[in-house]
Every structure is written in structure tokens, then in C-alpha cells.
């Protein structure tokens, strides 16, 4: 094959691939576009799938915001995220460090025990969690969501952070030890500052998982407004199921915070999701 022909072939391939990618992007965005067009139709009507309404009803967003109590829901979600992510990242990182660098006898078995949890479907533990949380007297409180989520995030957090700490050169900790630093000082002064990138990824992933969790909040907290965003969204479908414009407007509003955050930090998000998938 001559060079020019192969170059042409490559160019054609790139062109075709870009064409497919553009199509994929369109397919990815289509659900949001049709929800947007429906959200602007008069409330209570049954609009066609995709059509710019002659008289866009921007008021639907206001109505949906009020009827969904979105301000309260945001506050509830943020409280839950604030309860889960810092603690979960902290104790996951500590354990990852302990398993990678301190490695006490028997820690291999413990690590294996954590790793087994990586593939565990949440459905397997949801029934006992209900009775356990009830027994603890925490049903319908924020802690009912916060505490189990921290436990459920441990396998990934530890897998993720341990993989980072294992690759930190041993000289780092040796130098600290010679300086007489305790394990605790070494952790905070040497290891944590070096782990900023994986820590940020971990925090982003845990934020997303918490914000989007559905089954757990639905089972453990009865009032939709006391749940996370996704947990409440499910309830709105029941509430507005027949009012498509309001349902679409409400759903878009509920999605807005994550999408805005994603667009701002898209580089970090994409890196976290890609690496998170590979490691998980």
C-alpha cells in the first residue's frame, strides 16, 4: 500500500470515527433536549416528543421548584454529603495507609475482606440494613443514610487509596522515621499531602454516589424531602407522573446542580470516573 493511500485511509477512518462520535453525542444529549422542550409546554398538557412550544412556559420551572421544595431538598442532600464524604474519605485513607505502609500481621486477610465487597450489589444488604437501622432507632433520620453509605464505600476507598500508597517510594517514610516522626505524623505530614490527586478523585466519586443513591434512601427514609436528590426524584415521578411538563421541568432542575458542577470540574470528574472504573 502506498503511503498516500494509507494516509488517506487513516484520514477517512478519523472522519468516520468523528462522525460516529458526533452521533453518539447527539444520542447522549437527546433525552435532555426532549425533556427541555416538554418542560416548556403548558402544564398539564401532553406535548409531542420534540417540538419548540409556540408559547414557552418558563413558569413551569418556578412551579416545579416550589412544588418540589427544591431548596429544602438541596439542603438535605448537602447535609448528607457533608456527613458521608469527609468521614468516609478520612477513614478509608487511614486504612489504605495502614494496609499499604504499616502492614501489620494479618492485614492481608483484612484487605481481602475489603476487596470482596467491591462487587457486592446493594440489594444484598438492604434488608438487614433496614432492620438494623430500625433497631438503632435511626429510621427516617439523616444518619440512616449516612452511616450505611460510609460502610458501603469502604471497599472502593481502601482499594483506591492503598493502590496509591503502595506506589509511594519507601524512602519517603524512612526519611520521616529517621526524623523520629510517629506513624500519625508521617501520615498527616508526609503521606496525605502527597495523595492530593487520588483524594480529590475519591471525594468526587463519593459525592456522586451519595447524591445519586436511590434504593438505600428510599428504604430507610420515608419522607422524600429528607432524602438525597435521586431518592426524591423517584418520588416526584409518582407525584407528577401524569403531568409531563412539570415532571420534566422538575427533573431538569434536580439534575442542574450536578451537571453545573460537572461542567466546572469536568477534567477532574472525567479523570476520576475513568480511573475509578479501571481500578474498581
Amino acid at each position: 500500500m502506498s503511503q498516500s493511500a494509507s494516509l488517506q485511509g487513516q484520514w477517512l477512518g478519523t472522519f468516520a470515527a468523528r462522525g460516529i462520535l458526533v452521533l453518539l453525542m447527539f444520542v447522549t444529549l437527546l433525552p435532555f433536549i426532549t425533556m427541555f422542550s416538554a418542560a416548556l409546554a403548558p402544564s398539564g398538557t401532553y406535548p409531542p416528543g420534540l417540538q419548540w412550544p409556540s408559547d414557552p412556559q418558563w413558569g413551569n420551572f418556578v412551579e416545579a421548584f416550589q412544588s418540589a421544595n427544591l431548596d429544602r431538598l438541596l439542603l438535605s442532600s448537602l447535609t448528607i454529603v457533608a456527613g458521608v464524604v469527609p468521614i468516609s474519605v478520612l477513614i478509608g485513607t487511614m486504612a489504605g495507609f495502614g494496609l499499604a505502609k504499616l502492614a501489620p500481621r494479618g492485614s492481608n486477610m483484612v484487605y481481602l475482606l475489603f476487596v470482596i465487597g467491591l462487587t457486592l450489589p446493594i440489594e444484598v444488604v438492604i434488608i438487614p440494613l433496614f432492620y438494623e437501622v430500625k433497631w438503632l432507632g435511626l429510621l427516617n433520620t439523616k444518619l440512616a443514610i449516612i452511616l450505611p453509605l460510609i460502610g458501603l464505600y469502604m471497599p472502593f476507598s481502601i482499594y483506591w487509596m492503598r493502590a496509591h500508597f503502595v506506589n509511594v517510594p519507601i524512602e519517603m517514610s524512612e526519611a520521616a522515621e529517621i526524623d523520629g516522626a510517629s506513624a500519625w505524623q508521617q501520615f498527616w505530614l508526609v503521606q496525605v499531602p502527597l495523595a492530593r490527586a487520588p483524594l480529590l478523585s475519591l471525594a468526587i466519586l463519593q459525592f456522586l454516589w451519595t447524591w445519586n443513591s436511590f434504593l438505600l434512601p428510599m428504604v430507610l427514609v420515608e419522607v422524600p424531602l429528607e432524602r438525597t436528590m435521586a431518592g426524591a426524584l423517584g418520588a416526584f415521578q409518582g407525584q407528577w407522573g401524569t403531568n409531563i411538563p412539570l415532571l420534566c421541568a422538575g427533573s431538569l432542575l434536580i439534575l442542574a446542580p450536578t451537571i453545573i458542577l460537572f461542567l466546572i470540574f469536568q477534567k477532574q470528574f472525567v479523570a476520576a470516573l475513568l480511573q475509578g472504573a479501571v481500578k474498581g
Binding site: L102, E132, I254
Partner: protein, 306 residues
């Protein structure tokens, strides 16, 4: 699961493995272990225990041995939920991995520049939004006057329009497509990123040997993407087998039982029908199914040892 060799630190060990050092080390691990034990390990044990009972969640517990497991594995309705989950694997896994591989093979270079960034950002949106939202958006698209039917009518296929999620034959494939939509961007981007790391001289050598595009795909791309393909399959198979959110929102398991999956049935049996024992047995079967499907994938896709 893949790297047991790194568990044992090599060379000089920090002298913390005994005595006071060991206590300190365990103190680092203890909080994580406490949460994991309380909210994952002990619950798994309790699920196993419940699965041996007949219990309505309130009254007296009755020990039934493995009776619930026999019911799960013989009752047609329950077996169907497992069959449905495996059918979902076809859509959740094959579509995203197949399309992703095709795009990766065609591009083969790092997606750079503004186009690359835009593509990455947009294709990742389904990974960021809750599955519940994907379910709501697609329920609307697949409704009888939704955009899917509108498009079909536009291209002259008005005869096959229907309410897809309410159709006995098409509801399950429709749910499958929703899952494929969610996972497509992640798989495509993983594979595109992976293929850019394959040594380009391998492709040049293949070309010199007169390899066709198909040969290149089979002998260079597939082996080179082994790990990434393994990741995609693992993630998508778990998403299909343990699916809940999308099905709950899009169809609620209907029409009839046609889209009911184990996750949904566990929820229903335990919290609506108060058959805690049976629900727990199904949950354990689900856990075993996931492990049985994932282990061989991990085994096959692992980097060959030298």
C-alpha cells in the same frame, strides 16, 4: 483482586509490625473495619440467616432450612427475574463494548483538541446524573407520543410505533437500551483512552505484514485492550445483573413480570409482600450470580503472567 503479590511489602519492613507498632497500625485500620463490619459484613451474615427463615418482618421467625432457595430456583416467576437480568446483560454489555471498540479502532489516536474535550465531556454526562433521571427521561422518550415514535413516524415507520415500555415484547429490550445509553460513554472513553496507549509500531508492523483492518483489530487491538475490555465487561455486567433504579422508574417491572429483575423482586418481596426470608434467599442468589460471572472475566482478562 488482581494483585496479591503486592500485599507483602518487600525489602526492609518498617519496624512497626510488632508490639506497639502493630497496635498503631491496627488503629489506622480499625475505623474503616468498624463501619464496614457494621454496615456490610454483618448485614451479609444476617441476610444469609434471614434466608433460612420464614418471617414477615414482625411476627415470629420460623426456621425453614433451604426451602427458600428451592423456591427461588424452582418458582417460574422468580426464575424469570434471573433470566431477565441475563437478557439485560446482552444490551448493557454488548452494545456499549461493541460500539466503543468500533470507535476506538477507527480513531486509534488520543482524542485531543477541542473536539476531544467536548466529546469526552458530553459522553460522560450519563455517568454523572442519577440512574433515576435516565429512567425518567427515557420513559418520556419511549412514551407513545415521545420522540422515538415521532422519529419513526418521520422516517415512514409509523406502523411500528407503540408505547415501548408497556409492550410485552419490547419492554425488556427498551430497558436494555436505557442501560446501554448510560454505559455507552464510559465504555467508549475507556476503550479510546486504552487504544491510544497501544504501541503504534505494532500497527505499522501489522500493515507491513499485509494485515487487513480486520486482522489488525483481532491481533493488535483486542489483545492490547484486554484490560480495558475486562473493565468494561465487569462494570456493565454488574450494572445489568444488579439493576434496580432504571427498572423501578421506567417500568416498575411490568408489563406483567416481563421486566422484573432480581433487585426489584428483592425490594418488593421484602418491603411490600413481607416475605423477608424469600427475599433474602433471592438476594444471596443474586450475590452468588454476580461473583460467578465476574470471577472468570477477571481471570481471563488479567494480564498474562510472564
Amino acid at each position: 483482586m488482581t494483585e496479591t503479590s503486592t500485599l507483602r511489602p518487600q525489602g526492609p519492613r518498617p519496624q512497626t509490625s510488632r508490639g506497639r507498632g502493630a497496635i498503631v497500625a491496627w488503629l489506622f485500620i480499625a475505623p474503616a473495619l468498624l463501619f464496614y463490619g457494621m454496615f456490610v459484613l454483618i448485614p451479609i451474615g444476617i441476610t444469609v440467616y434471614y434466608s433460612l427463615l420464614r418471617w414477615n418482618g414482625i411476627g415470629a421467625m420460623q426456621f425453614k432450612g433451604i426451602a427458600n432457595y428451592i423456591t427461588v430456583l424452582s418458582e417460574p416467576d422468580l426464575l424469570q427475574t434471573i433470566g431477565n437480568a441475563f437478557q439485560l446483560v446482552l444490551y448493557f454489555t454488548i452494545l456499549p463494548v461493541g460500539i466503543g471498540l468500533g470507535v476506538a479502532q477507527l480513531i486509534r489516536k488520543h482524542l485531543s483538541g477541542r473536539f476531544g474535550t467536548t466529546a469526552r465531556t458530553i459522553l460522560f454526562i450519563p455517568q454523572v446524573i442519577p440512574l433515576v433521571a435516565a429512567g425518567i427521561a427515557w420513559s418520556w422518550m419511549l412514551a407513545s407520543n415521545g420522540v422515538i415514535n415521532q422519529t419513526l413516524q418521520f422516517i415512514g415507520l409509523g406502523g411500528i410505533t407503540r408505547g415501548w415500555l408497556g409492550d410485552f415484547d419490547f419492554a425488556l429490550p427498551a430497558v436494555g437500551f436505557i442501560g446501554a445509553w448510560v454505559l455507552l460513554g464510559l465504555c467508549t472513553m475507556l476503550l479510546v483512552t486504552g487504544i491510544a496507549k497501544i504501541d503504534p509500531t505494532l500497527y505499522e508492523a501489522a500493515k507491513l505484514d499485509g494485515a487487513s483492518g480486520w486482522d489488525e483489530f483481532i491481533y493488535v487491538t483486542l489483545p492490547g485492550l484486554r484490560q480495558e475490555i475486562g473493565v468494561c465487561i465487569t462494570v456493565t455486567v454488574i450494572a445489568a445483573l444488579a439493576s434496580f433504579d432504571i427498572v423501578y422508574i421506567a417500568t416498575g417491572g411490568g408489563p406483567g413480570q416481563t421486566t422484573t429483575v432480581p433487585g426489584l423482586e428483592v425490594y418488593r418481596l421484602a418491603f411490600a409482600h413481607r416475605q423477608v426470608g424469600l427475599a433474602s434467599a433471592l438476594a444471596i442468589v443474586l450475590m452468588v450470580l454476580v461473583i460467578v460471572c465476574i470471577l472468570p472475566i477477571q481471570w481471563i482478562m488479567r494480564e498474562p503472567r510472564k
